[in-house]
Assembly symmetry: C2
């Protein structure tokens, strides 16, 4: 089968020019934002993009704005050439890979920490904004504008990763403004992220349709993630306890067990029994992400757990 | 002279369609965001828009997101038909008046306070986000996404009006996403707002050029503002102390008086002597808006003061 070489663009203005030239030709643009190290989950998003848009842009950018200085930004896996090979292998390929160097460098000497350092707020105002610090602030970049989805960013991953969703909402806004797509694709593996982006698009009136694509699993059930490569074979085996116990909990719920505390206690016991460290295990409403006590409407089981140095997340929707 | 009737659009999707049809014809779009009750300051922005773009959209929308529940949203002056007459009188007129009803109504029953009420944060997380409450939250609208320009929003007006610039940055983002302009025009009367929008456009990578238009004064020196109509004749006369003392301070600085505390003390004495209540009177850096002690580079004198029930702001730039 003939393969298609994507155009690789790293410059913001060139990216926007390309998109505007497509729009001028009447072609719709689908955007699949990624942090690279692509796996079958990403490729399924791209296949969805081909169904919904006439041209496809994949962005590959590891966003420092969604990592705190203590998180795994420096060890996040990458393989750009391998990614390009995978993209070529997809039927239809992709039109553009947008691969910027640093989306927080504005080329105006703003990377200067002198006016805002660790000693505090020079304006003497509230400090609440400073409690949240990402690698962008830590790196002394002059960027200071953040998009906050104030309710949905708080539960689940938001509790242990307070900068994460502020960083996600902000980088997706930047990518939307640079690529100007008609449709954008997000995996439901990152369930909270998907819901946050949907809400942000509604609240900020982006002229963009957001599509959530189903979570993709390995044959043994492990939810696909770029971070899986960092699991040892033994850890990987133990991590199967997450998907296995979620499948059991979902089956129990479908058989009439609606008490969420009991359902999740069995998940927690199973993951801890395999040596995992639970970050959270909750049943939440599919829209509001608020904890539910009894399954009455569309809900989602959500789990985050550590195996060794790797934090994994997984989820399963249930619609009784 | 022939007058031009603007097209009046209230629907978001129709507004975006109009803009996209203009872009498809190769025409650039200039946006002048206003809260209505137009005066000569607004009209000068529209004249600037004609210089920089081939079509002109004026938005008229009093944004509840930038008012706290204790501020003057309910008494903010409006005169839609008078505004349209003024717009017709400008050479070239305007192409569209975008006049939405409620930009926070998403038509999905989200205007429901039940899941987030005054008793606190249901997720049990930090409360810092809830210290800032605008008429949008107070009105029980389901909107929860806010754009924060974290440093520039804090000084000057940000101290006494903590929701103001969060609301401004958010509504301008919404208007940018609905109107999709090439150029947007802001008055330097609202100096901090103009700098915040510039920074936001840079940090969020909007493909939009921001142009700041000079402050326009009445013949007697009073900075034009829609709120001036709420001053009694006596208050209006006393309020001239702001522009008069700023003019004197600027002249003193140009004559070698560089000590900002002394310069602003004379402004404060003058405004207080006329019966005004000072909110702030500061000399700040033109870019960072940080207070400066001595005038060494481009700076701006900024004043906010109350006369009766009306809060007025004014400023003068100085570039030694």
């Amino acid at each position: 089968m003939a393969t298609k070489n994507p155009l690789i663009i790293s410059d913001k203005d060139k990216m926007r020019q390309w998109s505007r030239s497509m729009r001028a030709q009447g072609k719709t643009i689908g955007l699949v934002p990624t942090m690279g190290y692509l796996h079958e989950g990403h490729l399924s998003l791209i296949r969805d993009a081909h169904k919904h848009s006439q041209s496809v842009v994949v962005s590959i950018y590891v966003n420092p704005g969604q990592f705190s200085p203590t998180e795994d930004l420096s060890t996040y896996p990458s393989d750009f050439l391998g990614d390009i090979d995978k993209l070529k292998s997809i039927p239809g390929g992709v039109d553009v890979v947008f691969h910027p160097h640093n989306l927080y460098d504005y080329g105006d000497n703003s990377n200067d920490r002198s006016c805002w350092n660790d000693s505090g707020d020079q304006h003497g105002g509230e400090r609440e904004g400073r409690e949240v610090v990402s690698c962008v602030e830590d790196g002394g970049m002059g960027h200071e504008t953040w998009v906050r989805v104030e309710k949905l960013e708080k539960p689940l991953c938001g509790k242990s990763r307070p900068v994460c969703f502020r960083g996600v909402a902000t980088i997706v806004t930047k990518l939307f403004n640079i690529v100007e797509p008609d449709v954008a694709f997000f995996g439901k593996k990152d369930y909270q992220q998907w819901r946050i982006i949907q809400r942000m698009v509604r609240d900020l009136d982006f002229g963009i349709k957001v599509i959530g694509s189903d979570l993709v699993r390995e044959p043994d059930g492990l939810a696909m993630s770029s971070r899986n490569v960092r699991l040892s074979p033994a850890e990987r085996d133990k991590a199967l306890s997450i998907s296995r116990s979620l499948t059991e909990a979902k089956a129990a719920a479908e058989n009439g067990q609606v008490n969420c505390r009991e359902l999740m206690n069995s998940v927690i016991r199973s993951v801890q029994g395999a040596g995992g460290l639970i970050d959270y295990a909750e049943v939440v409403d599919q829209e509001s992400l608020e904890a539910v006590e009894e399954i009455k409407g569309p809900a989602v089981f959500c789990v985050a757990a550590w195996f060794g140095k790797v934090r994994l997340i997984d989820n399963m929707e249930i619609s009784p």
